[in-house]
Amino acid sequence: MSDLFFSNVPVSLADDLEKQASVKDAQPVLFAIVAAPERPVITCFGIRASDGRLQKATWVKGSITAFRDDGDAIVLGERAAEFLKAEPGQKLELGQQSYPVAGIVRTENGFEDGGVFMPLRCAQKAFHKEGVASIVSVAMNPGHETGEVKEWMKANHPKFSALENEEFSKSYSQFKILKTTAWVVGGCAFLLGGLSVTNTMILSVFSRIRELAIVRVSGFSKGQVARMIFGESLVVSFIGMIAGLVLSAAGLRLLKLVPQLQGYIDPSLGLTEILGALLLAVVTALLGALYPAWYAVRLKPADALRYE
């Protein structure tokens, strides 16, 4: 699967899958991007009324009975309703057409919460994808393994891939791009951080050569001097980490306020991120202080103090 939005899976596949003993439910989902006035990018989910997404969602306004497979009423995610300023009973312009809003739902998934749910047939028509969906989501019957569906798919529909949620996340090209981008950006930030620490510590060491010479004259061993430099570097990195965390938290809050991103970003800074930042700060501090510490240790106090 190269891209969700270009994937074409026949809806009949969902019906075939549902006939399998191992399958409890198979729901075709059509993903599309649609534009609303002043909101150029909104994710649209073409689904059946029986889809678990709407069944399990919390209905903030309206009811599921208004969302019918043969109708054109749409349901909005709570965030989408917020930034589109739409209410049930209103008509909402999406792309070339207007659709009546049947209700507003709150879902666990931020991606869905910022999107629009449209009856599958209506979506197929709007996006010229009659008879097809982007994916078929499958729920297993108790006591059955996902491997059974995979085997069946391999035997009967070898052109399509059957993936579990985790496999899907790993294989989906856009997620891969996002992850790769995150790693590259993170790597660059790590390098920049390391260089900044090195630069700070080099400036610190170079501007205090005579002070370092005096501590050597006062009997500091090379180890004591190195520990001093590494300690200072850790303090610098720790301060940087705290400042970075505060800025990140503020940045995430700001992103939450950008209407175009609502529903796509879930701003949270958990313990894992904080511990990760702390670990990175320590590693950056130690690596960044290597050269300055090496320089300070090799410094000959007599040379440093000879020239006034």
Binding site: E211, S218, A302, L305
Partner: protein, 223 residues
């Protein structure tokens, strides 16, 4: 008096042997002796002090301190920690610290307890007349106070030898006199062996002994 420092045929060069600074220096200094090392700039006074104090190893020859000849890194470190105290032309106090914190630096190296080190600083500060200035930052101190602070720092670990390299060279006339007198008084009252490198002959004559250097050699050794 027994011998405290013995410099035996010491040679020292820099720039891979291209600049010879000490050329076979021989010197014997008694315990508690106050010696002035005189000579023009570049004659080798500072380098000789550095070699005696363990900051530089000699290329050839031996320096004995109280009978032993510190040669390895560990021995030289021990000499710097407890054997010698250095006073330089400039005070080299750390600008961001108070005078007391500066004076405590050698105690960190030796691991002396903070209370003992502070008591020692207080005692030396009383003796040098800067007790009331210990809580001040370096920028708040006069040139003379700074230099007296560096003297306290040099004496903190109670070394038997004090090496002063042009200690009054950066001071005005009044402070020069006060700091020099203080050095002599402290050395004599505490039984320190003191070597002062200076080109000021008036000051040098007030020491127990004057040694004159020229071109890396001792050319005159008079009492």
């Amino acid at each position: 008096m027994s011998e405290m420092i013995s410099v035996e045929d010491v040679w020292k060069s820099f720039d891979r042997g291209r600049i010879e600074v000490l050329k076979g220096v021989n010197l014997s200094i008694a315990r508690g002796e106050v010696l002035a090392l005189c000579g023009t700039s570049g004659c080798g006074k500072s380098t000789l002090l550095h070699v005696i104090g363990g900051l530089e190893p000699p290329d050839r020859g031996v320096v004995r301190i109280d009978g032993g000849a510190p040669s390895g890194e560990a021995e030289r470190l021990e000499l710097l920690r407890r054997g010698v105290g250095f006073v330089f032309q400039l005070h080299h106090l750390v600008a961001g610290l108070t005078l007391e914190e500066n004076c405590l630096v050698p105690a960190v190296a030796t691991g002396l307890s903070r209370s003992a080190a502070r008591a020692r600083v207080r005692e030396l500060a009383e003796a040098t007349g800067i007790a009331g200035r210990l809580d001040r930052r370096v920028r708040e101190l006069s040139g003379g106070e700074r230099q007296r602070g560096s003297l306290v720092r040099a004496l903190l670990n109670d070394p038997p030898i004090l090496l002063a390299d042009e200690p009054t060279g950066a001071l005005d006339e009044t402070n020069r006199e006060r700091v020099f007198e203080l050095l002599l008084d402290l050395a004599r009252s505490q039984g320190k062996t003191l070597i002062i490198a200076t080109h000021d002959l008036d000051l040098a004559r007030r020491c127990d002994r004057v040694v004159r250097m020229r071109d890396g050699k001792v050319v005159e050794d008079g009492v």
